[in-house]
Amino acid sequence: MTTISSSYDPVPELAHGNNYLTHTRGVLSWLFTLDHKRIGVMYLVGILGSFFLGGVFAVLVRTELLFQGEQVLTDDQYNQMFTLHGAVMTFLVIIPGIPAALGNFVLPIMLGAKDVAFPRLNLASFYLWTLGAIFFLAVLASGGLDTGWTFYTPYSIETNTAVIGATAGAFILGFSSILTGMNFIVSIHQLRPPGMTWFKMPLFLWALYATAIIQVLATPVLAITLLLLIAERTFQVGIFDPKLGGDPVLYQHFFWFYSHPAVYIMILPAMGVISELVSVFSRKHIFGYRFIAYSSIAIALFGFLVWGHHMFTSGQSNMMNMIFSALTFSVSIPSAIKVFNWLATMYKGSISLATPMCYALIFIFLFGIGGLTGLFLTTLATDIQLHDTYFVVAHFHYVMMGGTMIAFFGALHYWWPKMTGRMYSEMWGRLAAFLVFVGFNTTFFPQFVAGSQGMPRRYADYKEMYAGYHFVSSIGSYIMAVAFVIMACYLLHSLFRGRKAPANPWGANTLEWHCSSPPPHQNFDEQPAVGDCYDYSGLEYDTATDSYVPKSRTAVTT
């Protein structure tokens, strides 16, 4: 076995230009790479591009709703815009988001391994994602999609927009998700270094493990649902088509059996990131490690029992309504445990407001609202009033956008120095974070009130009484758009003229900070030592290099 260096050895400096970015040159070396870090970066570029595309659709939707009547889009175009916004954001951005882009990059290094368990499969997942994205672009070019991202039958059977193209795209993206999940499960089981037991693993890996379980168990049911929908359209099989004796409510069971666990695929990695950020930027050991780890698994498993709360008004039987309402409350408990544990971690810490921590705090604020408004939608009586109104739109944007995407940007800033070897500008980072926070709340808080006042969802036009809410919401969406443009600018700027990043700028103790920034091709020359990844006592701030270095050997108190 290889020698184990002590956990506080100084990080081996790389000969200039020998990191994973410069290991080999040329486009082909990127397109056919098996290196998980390069695959992660390629995913990141694809996902940020899709996020920009989805954002354009969102701004168009909000511009149409700025005033009553028709502004820029006809009814049909509006229906296509909100459908494509939903489909692109869920399938292309937020489901692969944190696991595929950042998880791929960080997981093997956190495990002290050279790569994921199946590198070729990892590259295949990326190309499946790209193929799925191409299908979505083809759908965009060939007449769009106007069924909503849920493809409810019988409308999705009889509309003449490119439903088959979109469902085929989602089918392929599903496989990309399954294979990434499988890769992560096997890597976490098989590639943990000696000394890293399950409860010495970083919490981000617990979150990715729980996410992978859902990806593997839920996505196949989406695959068969989409296959049957394609069969409906091409051969009129009649399983979901009421004209042929089929049952549209059965389609909703099929669809939501996947799509509710899918929302936990989206939020769990975000929670994993927040656990890391809160601990590092408070210089405090994480509080309640086991409870946070177990709550990730609990959310993953309970997530499979609750899909019926999307169907309270759909004609689902009253008995199932009651069972699903009761079960859905079980999912809110682990989320509450996590939030309280994060707060307990911050207690008596030394909290720095670097940009990643700004996003972590914004996450706790927005996810707090998102999670608590979920209670209204879980309770039967209030869900009857609130279902399919803007209250639901606001709820899931607070949890998906306010939760997952905010955590994604926090993680992006946290691992930016490690991925690119460059530091971004803290001032611009904090400004953009503040603007995102202001823009987000201006956009979505009015939608809560519009929704509870009865404003239905997916409306191209609205009655007079909802005009005020929509106006404020549209203004908010422009503020958010500006904030993201600012973020894009300063991150791109840092790529070329950012300060050279030290090995450990934030003073974290997970293994990816024990190698250089950007890390070498093979991550570690010899097996890194596995200590307690939330114990920061062995690191001290070195003003010269503006980074954290292991304390001088004599003073090391083990």
Partner: protein, 315 residues
């Protein structure tokens, strides 16, 4: 889609290892690599089981709520052909398991022979499936809108006198259905839901072509008058045939079609492993691809073990 990615799952095993030949650089020992591959394969099999669970769920829901359709329609299926198919798959599963054993013991000749036998079993299964599909296409026993039976149940395709009339019937029904993209009967039986990537673009099936529109109950009688309960008498149309019998064939073609695709994929992998075993790559210290393809083939057999009684032995 998943099929060819699967091959990468197996091929990762034999990277350019420094010490033992087939050890990938990021694994410590062949044991760790073998366990990782088996574990990854079992996770993949789990996703396959969940994918077919969707079809079993559709089957269960429609059988529970419309038992008369299944009782009536299963008589169209030929139980003997189904039983032969089950036997064929079990034998090819046996030869596959034996082949894995042969690989583990390094018996190259036996390995190659057994893999060939398994491949033959696959062809046999698909051949019988083709006969069954041919009979159904011929007799108009198709899913959904194209359902236009020209044969009474129990007449297992040997009712030749129906043959010519059947074609005529089918042509008209084809014309009525009016959706150009349904595979014309008699042509090679279009696999029911081949890989969607090649599916025709979303041609909108015209709404009312020959289909009975959902006729709403008469408006005149006050709603309370209409019987809500599930009255079986209403179930049976004029000819004693329960309505929506095409649902059975929708589910039949979905299940056996998707299973057929997986048999085809399995045969592709076996052929690929056969080629490599002829090249002598496998032996006691490295036989992972044979083992993984064997697991996949056994899963395909496993699913047929459940499909056979559910579709053919309805009582």
């Amino acid at each position: 889609m998943a099929e060819e990615t699967l091959t990468t799952a197996q091929s990762h095993g034999h990277g350019h290892g420094e010490h033992p030949p087939h050890l990938a650089h990021h694994f410590e020992s062949p044991g760790q690599q073998f366990d990782a591959c088996k574990f990854g394969m079992w996770i993949f099999l789990c996703t396959e089981v969940l994918m077919f669970s969707g079809l079993f769920c559709a089957y269960a829901v429609y059988r529970a709520n419309h038992p008369e359709i299944f009782l009536y329609a299963h008589k169209y299926l030929d139980t003997n052909l189904g039983a032969i198919n089950t036997a064929v798959l079990i034998c090819s599963s046996f030869t596959m398991a034996w082949a894995v054993r042969a690989a583990q013991k390094g018996q190259q000749g036996l390995l190659i022979g057994l893999l060939a036998l398994t491949l033959l079993g696959g062809f046999g299964f698909l051949g019988i499936k083709y006969i069954e599909y041919e009979h159904k296409f011929h007799k108009g026993l198709l899913p959904g809108a194209q359902y236009n039976p020209t044969v009474t149940p129990g007449d297992h395709g040997n009712g030749d006198k129906h043959a010519e009339m059947g074609d005529h019937e089918l042509i008209t029904s084809e014309h009525d259905a009016g959706n150009a993209h349904t595979a014309p009967p008699g042509a090679a039986p279009a696999r029911h839901d081949e890989e969607p990537a090649v599916a025709p673009t979303g041609v909108k099936p015209t709404e009312q072509t020959g289909l009975e529109k959902t006729t709403l109950p008469q408006a005149a009688p006050p709603p309370a008058g209409r019987s809500m309960e599930h009255d079986h008498a209403h179930e049976h149309g004029m000819t004693g045939r329960p309505n929506n019998v095409h649902l059975f064939f929708g589910i039949y073609f979905a299940m056996t079609g998707l299973h057929g695709i997986h048999v085809l994929a399995g045969m592709a992998f076996i052929a690929w492993v056969l080629k490599r075993s002829i090249a002598g790559e496998f032996g006691p210290e490295y036989f992972t691809p044979v083992d993984l393809v064997g697991l996949y083939w056994h899963l395909v057999d496993l699913i047929w073990i459940f499909l056979f009684p559910l579709l053919y032995l309805i009582h």
